[in-house]
Amino acid sequence: MNDDWLYEISPKRKLIDLNFKEIWRYKDLLILFVKRDITTVYKQTILGPLWFFIQPLFTSVIYTLVFNNIASVSTGAVPSFLFNLTGITAWNYFNQCFTSTSNTFNQNAALFGKVYFPRVIVPLSKVIAGLVKFGIQLLILIAFYFYFILKGTSISPNSNIVLFPIYVLLMALMGLGFGMIISAMTTKYRDLTVLIGFATSLLVYISAVPYPLSQVKQKMPDIAWIVQLNPLTQIIEGFRYMILDEGIFDLRSFIYTIVVGMMIFLVGLIVFNRTEKNFIDTV
């Protein structure tokens, strides 16, 4: 009679303990979290969702002024503003996924300490909420894209555009993976939270966001390998390549990025899994 237990609570744990049935049962919670994250950010603001537009636009303008006009970084045939806007839109999505999931445990300690639900719902909801923001920012990118076409600039996407979903997925996986690793590590030792703040703003510069990969290869061949090994560079560069048909794309780097992205995600998932059971004792 005692064999049909629904579940067991014990200290033993599997390496990856993802109960998809359970996550599915909590899908409404996931949707509500996503809704909450989107709607509450700009409550009691006048411009509301307009803020989604303002940040990438301003950043692009500044980048264009500093890197392209002052430092004269060449962006090839593409208008440098559009070049920057494309890079920033992609970067923003990764950054959003990463920073919002990296404090999952610390931020939700009060909630996690009271009720059980599959913890992975929280970072997952951040990634999906980020997707909505990304979609909105993509709209501005498209708007400017057509603006430049109307102005007579010859730009067109290339056949790589079919890889678009893969790039988005890669950004999400990598942001989520890194975020989960950091969030798990900061539960006991808070050192990393200090690092995150400035690390992401510096990471922009070795991820080829404000410049094309070709430029760094040409101007600083000695350290170009760092930029090239960075999987984020490959994503940003590939993203620009398919939309603007400008930049470097080769299959080997693409596969490399996919493998690294998957690995980071898996490691993140494992670390997150190990942490979620007991983190409340150490947070």
Binding site: N2, W5, K114, V115, Y116, F117, K188, D281
Partner: protein
Amino acid sequence: MSVILKAENISKQYRLGTVGTGTLSHDLNRWWHQIRGKEDPYLKVGAVNDRSAKASEDYVWALRDINFEVKTGEVLGIIGKNGAGKSTLLKLLSRVTSPTTGSIRTKGRIASLLEVGTGFHPELTGRENIYLNGAILGMTKPEIRSKIDEIIAFSGCEMYIDTPVKRYSSGMRVRLGFAVAAHLEPEILVVDEVLAVGDAEFQKKAIGKMQDLSTGEGRTVLFVSHNMLSIEQLCSRCIVLENGTVSYNGKTKLAISNYLAKEKQKDTKVSFPLSSKNIRINHFKVIDNLENIAEILFIGSQYKLNLGLKNIATLDQYIDVRIQFFSNEKLITTLNSYHRNETYLLKENEVVDLLFNIPKLPLSSGRYSLGIQIYNRSEKMVLYEHENFFTLEIKEGDFFKTGRLPHRKLLGKCLIDFDMQIRTL
């Protein structure tokens, strides 16, 4: 009835002190043992969970080898002193954290009601929060939708339901939170002290709902509370936790008396000075009319209860003191400074002696225990409370100044001063 939940040998170890460099070295050592396939070296150590003892080791067993079973439809009470491990046990049951050893197996979904209103988002409206909170507690959207009217009605917050929760009073937030939780439909519900909040009307409603859940709907409930009255009303069986182990498991009545008896044995002596939240008690003594300390009191004599206090908070506090006389756990009478309009503004660092003057002790002979409560009137906060703070021994005395000592057996609990007139007709 079938067993719905079974806990076997569950233990939970916590580390004492703060997380620091010592933790890192222990973590590395633990990891080193783990990768060599050896047992965790720190599981062998660990002190017994006794909050008042001095910390002698780095680890403590908040729970040690707990075994129990719960049957379907049963309401199980869990009682114990502060820090006996009740909340830790509930945390394990509600899967917030996992046990260090042992296992809990269950046949039903467990939902916990540890602190109502957790997960409310201040910017969302009451209605949106009902959905969010319901989902956090494990309900699906259709489930919530079918009950939303009922939930709103139960909370009694109809008027504010489309206003952001940040505009709610704290009482309203609790009402809304409990309303959502009360409409959960898990097989096992875990409840911790929620009834301590809300106004009297709402508490009654909440207890009623809890009773409905268990009796009417046959829900299994695990209920933790310090309120013996609600435990007695709700539970059919109780577990008494003491220092992290089960010291009693059985009928509620017996469990409660068992718990209270232990409590009394343990806490009968208090030593001074005694520091509590924001206040220090320097001494408590009973002095007679010659200003000597009275060891044994006599009926009818004059005594002063002298309580020495120091304000150790960094602010001035309005202090009220209540002293209660108990005989065999029955409340006999109360002296409360508030009733005499003697609420005192205790300045920062001020040291005072409060003297409760009893001109003619009217209690009959026997042993009395004194309970004390020191209350901050302005902050509405109990600074110190003890049910069994001091023991008094009262002996027969000349209450009526006639040299005749009333016989104890014929006297009753107290004496009334009276005089007599005899009119001849």
